[in-house]
């Protein structure tokens, strides 16, 4: 029986908080498991560095992910090459797994348009800042895949807050009606800025909302990367190859916690208890997976050290590369608005260029 066929209130777990198996360990090779660990570790280190860059004024507002590595990497791991990913603004880890260079993520949060350019070989949409809007795009994209007879699933990430928006409901409703190959992945990290999950919905779980749209909803422990992988893998397979009578879409609610602020512009101490943070830290997905891998002889001190130092180098290089990127040319502002520049935009770009010629940066830059 598929792991998806369960009561939406019954939370799927594979590892307990001490890293002991309490469910069926998914079929992943030793290498894959260690890679999963490495990517989670990388995401954590990247996040720590990004927050500190912001604090030093080297980057703009940034949304941290620490605590959510298990959900991001575990789920992205379950996608096949041909599948697509529609992120919110916090999926730096999932994006990294899909092959988006860290430098792009840094550039984006440093305010460069270039950071939004996803390389052609990465099946991923740009960051979605307006909440829940990507849910409909993901449904449409999956619908297209189905109409074009292509075997690809479409993964869409969003937060618990996003489930309050009309777009969320419309997206899931269409997916149910048109039986599209979607995986809807809710990162329920308990808070939408200062508003707790209970203020978003009166339903007992987010997973159970799927019932209303006619497909399966499953709740997983979002800080257990193996449970996340197992549920997502089953959902991806069902999206592409449903059994007789099964619906393709699935809603996964990954129950988890974001350790840090909503963004670097936010101060969670105003609305959140530090005790609560400490409680959730006990579920930290990284030591949890590490313990499991060590206990089963897949990881030892030496490998962990090697991972640590290679991760540090990788992140340092990405930061160096992003910071050596020259300030974008002001003319970039006028490009890619349309396939062909309209006469009005061309005139505005020319007028700007003339003025820039006369004044230089001095006439424009503030501070």
């Amino acid at each position: 029986m598929s792991v998806l066929q369960r009561d939406p209130q019954d939370m799927l777990r594979v590892l307990d908080e001490g890293g002991e198996p309490v469910g069926e360990v998914p079929d992943l090779s030793d290498d894959e498991l260690v890679t999963m660990y490495r990517e989670m570790y990388l995401a954590r280190h990247f996040d720590t560095r990004a927050v500190s860059l912001q604090r030093q004024g080297r980057m703009g507002t940034y949304p941290p992910l620490s605590g959510q590595e298990g959900a991001q990497i575990g789920s992205a791991f379950a996608l096949d090459e041909e599948d697509w990913l529609f992120p919110s603004y916090r999926e730096h880890g999932a994006a990294l797994h899909r092959g988006l260079p860290l430098k792009r993520t840094l550039l984006y949060w440093m305010g460069h348009e270039k950071g939004n350019r996803i390389p052609d070989d990465v099946n991923m949409f740009p960051v979605a800042v307006p909440i829940a809007t990507q849910v409909l795009h993901a449904t449409g994209a999956a619908w297209a895949k189905k109409l074009q007879d292509e075997d690809a699933a479409v993964m869409c990430y969003f937060g618990d807050g996003a489930t309050s928006e009309g777009d969320f409901h419309e997206g899931l409703n269409f997916a149910g009606v048109f039986d599209t190959p979607n995986v809807f992945f809710c990162n329920n990290n308990q808070w939408a800025i200062s508003v707790p999950r209970e203020r978003q919905t009166a339903s007992a779980t987010i997973a159970q909302k799927a019932t209303a749209y006619g497909f399966e909803g499953v709740q997983v422990d979002g800080m257990d990367p193996l449970a996340v992988y197992a549920a997502t893998r089953a959902a991806v397979e069902k999206a592409k190859n449903p059994e007789e009578g099964e619906r393709r879409p699935t809603l996964i609610e990954a129950v988890q916690y974001r350790f840090g602020a909503h963004t670097t512009a936010d101060d969670p101490t105003v609305y959140r208890d530090t005790d609560e943070v400490e409680e959730w830290k006990k579920k930290d997905p990284i030591p949890r997976l590490e313990k499991f891998l060590r206990n089963t002889g897949r990881l030892d001190d030496e490998t962990v050290e090697a991972i640590e130092s290679s991760v540090k180098d990788e992140v340092a290089e990405a930061i160096e590369a992003a910071e050596s990127e020259p300030r974008p040319e002001p003319s970039e502002m006028f490009s890619d608005v349309f396939a062909e520049q309209t006469p009005e935009i061309r005139a505005q770009a020319e007028a700007f260029a003339e003025m820039y010629e006369r004044h230089g940066d001095e006439g424009f830059l503030r501070e």
């Binding site: 960051v127 300030r327 974008p328 006028f334």
Partner: protein, 331 residues
């Protein structure tokens, strides 16, 4: 006007808070609702402390749903309450757009006066604070284009409180856009008591005889700075701060122009279809024979608001404003 001489020296965002506090104290029909407005006090602290003082039923943290916020606020307003709905950023107001333009704006007309919509929708708006994507747009023209809505954009703490109180007391829906670039840029004296600054009246911020410059919101500051620079060169600039972009104070606009015969408009919103076009057309209609030069429009470009590494090039700078005004004068 207030009888009391007591004033506080407040920033613009503190004046928003003070306006809300004053009117919530005066009138228990007033409720504040939106995302993070309660315990958190708003992401810009515009509702700080109100939840502690007025409680959960009057300062309401809603689910994350703009259409939900605007739509339920419309329902509340029709039933005799005075909701002030906060949209966290004007760039996220679009899910509420349908409710605002299809319903709030037309309820009085559609029901031939039976139902009315005394609603205020507040939103921080505009660019210049190095915010992420979609946090910096300036789309007041959308709302000004909609009959049945009033659109207010203050530029000083004093006006902010007075206009907000007027907006809450107004029997019709008011879109209250707060230029977040100047939320904390300076302070001004604000009376402690309640007072109204009338909706629909522009303010002449600086008198001059050579050229009239029309602006509002955050762009009032670079405009005043440019006017100072031009003054040193012997150009006398009159600066008109619209304060309300709809209904627009055409009388003051035309009066100023009749004196100077030359005009420039400064706004950060895109040029095409922006309010500069409305002002220019008004001058053409009402004061053609006074016109001695084409009206200069110093505006944002017709491109999506860029990520912040380029935003300083997008926003009208002092140098750009100065040059534009000079063009109008030297034509």
């Amino acid at each position: 006007m207030s009888q009391s001489q007591q004033t506080q020296n407040l920033t613009l965002v503190q004046a928003v808070r003070d306006g809300l506090h004053t009117e919530m104290t005066n009138d228990d029909r007033v409720v504040v609702m939106g995302e993070d407005v309660g315990k958190n006090g708003g992401v810009f602290r515009a509702t700080e402390g109100l939840w502690n003082e007025f409680g959960d039923d009057r300062v309401i943290d809603t689910p994350l749903a703009e259409s939900g916020i605007a739509g339920t606020a419309i329902g509340m307003a029709t039933m005799g309450m005075r909701p002030v709905a906060e949209m966290q950023f004007s760039g996220f107001m679009y899910p509420a757009f349908d409710q605002i333009v299809s319903h709030a704006a037309r309820l009085r007309t559609r029901s031939r006066g039976r139902f009315t919509c005394p609603l205020v929708v507040r939103a921080p708006y505009g660019g210049g604070i190095r915010a992420p994507e979609h946090h910096s747009e300036s789309k007041e023209a959308f709302y000004a284009h909609e009959a049945g809505l009033k659109v207010v954009i203050p530029s000083t703490p004093y006006d902010t409180k007075g206009l907000l109180i007027s907006a809450i007391r107004d029997p019709d829906p008011v879109i209250f856009l707060e230029p977040k670039l100047i939320y904390r840029a300076f302070r001004g004296d604000v009376p402690e008591d309640d007072y109204e600054v009338p909706i629909g009246e522009a303010a002449v911020r600086r008198e001059g005889t050579d050229v009239s410059v029309y602006t509002y919101g955050a762009m009032t500051r670079p405009t005043m700075e440019a006017a100072d620079i031009l003054e040193e060169d012997g150009v006398s600039v009159e600066v008109v701060d619209l304060r309300t972009v709809s209904p627009m104070d055409k009388e003051t606009i035309v009066e100023s122009f009749e004196k100077t015969g030359r005009a420039a408009v400064v706004h950060e919103a895109p040029k095409t279809g922006g309010l500069g076009a409305e002002i220019t057309a008004t001058l053409q209609e009402k004061a053609l024979l006074h016109q001695e030069a084409p009206v200069e429009r110093i505006a944002g470009y017709d491109v999506p608001y860029p990520l912040y590494a380029l935003e300083d090039y997008y926003l009208p700078s002092v140098a750009r404003v100065e040059e534009g005004i000079r063009n109008a004068v030297e034509f």
